[in-house]
Amino acid sequence: MIVFATGFLAAARILVPAAGTAAWISALIGGAIGLGIAGLAGMLAARFPDQGLVGMAERVFGAPLGKLIGLTFVAYCSVVLGLGSRESVLAIWIAFLQTTPPVLISSVFYLLIIYAAYLGIEAIARVSLIFFSLVVISLVLLTALAIPVAAPTRLLPIVGNGLRPLIHGGLLAASYAAESVVVLAFIRHLKDKRGASRAMATGVAVGMVIMSTATGFGVMMLGVRGISRVTFPVLETARMVGFGQFLERAEILFLALWFSAALLKLAAVFYASITSVADVLGLRDYRPLIIPYALLGTALSLIPKTVLETFDYLGMFVKYSVWYAIALPVALLIGALVRGSRRGGESVSDRDAR
């Protein structure tokens, strides 16, 4: 859910201008790059099975540099949180709750995130288990209902704007898959640590297949020009589908489920951020940080004043963040190899988990 929950709402707007009709293939290429990142992160997790990201960095590079790397990770998570929550809030505000102030929707969003973070990663994971299947069912249903409205010939020519734009689109899409590095902050809580790599790879693969399907159907229904024009392509797809004359205007049901998925993703990112901050500051408990960090997150999510600004920031984020997500595990792995570091240490969320 971390991979697709917020991004898929507007991913097509970013991928289609780059790759044209082949945007859905670029999402799959992004998934392949994401699998590489998941593999690297899995190797890191196998090397330091009892460490959070800050712990790993401190073990490899020593405390000062490790804390600095931890802070960059917190900054990355904060941007994911800010942009993700802004995107979800905008989707609800523009399409449904036009008279509700967005700051109010954002506040409710953060209240729920705070509650989830307070309960801890186990609660988030268990609720995600329930919602993941519901979200997947909703997407399968949406896909099935979209088939009669879709025009598959709109996916031609198959390579879209050409090979170079396709690879460029793949790199943009990879930034969504790369968000899986957030898991490094809490992967130590996995019961079966040997399966970390496989679990992350499965998550990335499923997430990117969902994103590719959503993009492909968007192009089939709205065309390349249409998809670049609409604000939230997936939402527009949901508005167009129906079953006979008795299941129409059901997009609010879809959005309610997707909103829940986004909430859980952002709660996980929020949790990753505050436990990392606590690790950097050497705090025994991350909970005192929840409220201040939630205020920071709300403020961050309100920085883009307009939809245009939000998509500009999002465009910049997907352009560059993939390189950070690749560099982080690569640097830690190379450092660990050079220094021969392995295992040990204890961080704040280990203490919390106990």
Partner: protein
């Protein structure tokens, strides 16, 4: 009571109080969210909402925009005989949005556009460019892209005001026609979404269904499907033929047969019925149902290369398909292989003549690619070549290219009887 016992009782009661306090907080938060997020403070009852079923847009003689809305009137007694079921309102403005916003001032109900079934453009407005309406409607979070789009040469207000027996309003009647009679309809099933996507593609120009007001036929003679169902003696609605658009501007009408040929060439014809003279010397006529057709657009070799811009000069439209015999009024009963072959050749010639007429109309009268040939070129070329080299001049290229129809149809089923019942002389 011992101290230990008191301590044991105090601890659970403190925990219980804490739990209760937490629950109270959760309930309060939920109530606060429910009250503030759902917008219940300004909730509207269903009676105060005007459900817009049909929207009509036209241009006045002095160039202003007039908009009609056909609004359903929800009532506690829907079956009440004298109860008016829908209401029509008109407004005039400088732009489409200006006119739409003025509609709100004329209605005692809050106009809700999520249920618009039919969007009817007047001919004058369509010829001036429908893009003037698309922006306002595409931005609207209520309006649905699934709404049917029509063009009419009659007054839009009269079209939306037509009383029908089959449906409670003209908009619902049009919606029913488009949904339920697709297999007998000689009009494109044009939705708002199709219009949005096709006006931007020079190689796939939109055809919008035409709706007309015609004199109602006598009660007993009401045809089923697209045409009938209105009160005898008054005007009735007929959905037949199409309006051809070049970009967003209407450039002409296509009659029912031309429209069917255009849909067949674009692989969008669901079914088509036609009657033609029996080939050969026997005389009489024969009726068919076209149950399957498939069109391929064939280009010269090398079209896939980026140098294709000047190469699309000759195109072959090959259509293959099957027809079922539905009626034979001739002494020729088609009982030999030779007679069937002659019939198949006759059908192919008949349809080929129809396609030739369409090609002539598209190239000379309309001057735009309603055949979807450009769309076939676009699919074969690198996107950049199409967008930069071909799309800007496609209309000119289309009008000068040589398009050759190659139609091959075969006869499928001939019904439950091999020969016509023959009375004794």
């Amino acid at each position: 009571m011992s101290v230990t016992g008191m301590h044991a009782r105090t601890q659970p009661s403190a925990a219980w109080a804490g739990q209760r306090q937490r629950r109270t907080v959760v309930v309060l938060v939920c109530l606060l969210a429910a009250a503030s997020i759902t917008g219940c403070r300004d909730a509207r009852e269903i009676e105060s909402v005007g459900f817009v079923l049909g929207l009509g847009i036209d241009e006045t003689a002095d160039g202003r925009i007039e908009v009609w809305a056909q609004v359903a009137l929800p009532s506690a007694k829907p079956t009440e005989g004298e109860k008016q079921e829908s209401w029509r309102v008109r407004s005039v403005g400088d732009t489409v949005w200006d006119a739409i916003r003025q509609l709100n001032g004329k209605s005692t109900k809050v106009l809700f556009r999520a249920h618009v079934r039919a969007l009817v453009f007047g001919e004058r407005f369509a010829r001036g460019g429908v893009a003037r309406a698309l922006d306002a409607l595409a931005r609207d979070n209520q309006f649905r892209y699934k709404s049917w789009v029509f063009v009419t040469s009659d007054p839009v207000g009269d079209v939306l005001g037509t009383q029908t027996k089959q449906s409670s309003s003209a908009a619902l009647f049009l919606d029913d026609v488009m949904r339920n009679t697709a297999r007998s309809l000689t009009a494109p099933r044009s939705r708002f979404l199709d219009l949005l996507t096709s006006i931007e593609q020079p190689g796939d120009q939109p055809l919008l269904a035409r709706v007309r007001l015609v004199e109602a036929e006598d009660g007993g003679g009401q045809p089923e499907g697209a045409g009938g169902g209105q009160e005898a003696g008054s005007k009735e609605l007929r959905v037949e033929g199409s309006a051809a658009l070049c970009g967003d501007k209407m450039v002409g009408w296509l009659d029912a047969e031309d429209t069917a040929m255009a849909l067949m060439v674009c692989n969008r014809l669901e079914a088509y019925s036609f009657i033609m003279p029996m080939p050969g010397d026997e005389g009489g006529s024969i009726g068919f149902d076209m149950i399957r057709s498939h069109a391929d657009t064939l280009f010269p070799e090398g079209i896939h290369t980026p140098r294709a811009a000047g190469q699309v000069t000759d195109v072959v439209i090959r259509v293959t398909g099957t027809v079922d015999i539905r009626e034979v009024l001739s002494s020729e009963q088609l009982m030999s292989v030779r007679s069937l072959e002659r019939l198949e050749a006759g059908i192919s010639r008949h349809l080929e003549a129809g396609v030739r007429r369409l090609i002539d109309a598209a190239q000379n009268r309309l001057g735009c690619d309603v055949l979807g040939i450009g769309e076939c070129v676009r699919r074969r070329l690198p996107a950049k070549v199409w967008e930069e080299d071909m799309a800007p001049t496609w209309h000119e290229q289309f009008t000068t290219m040589r398009i050759v129809p190659d139609i091959r149809f075969e006869v499928g089923k001939r019904g439950m009887t091999m020969q016509s019942p023959k009375p004794i002389d």
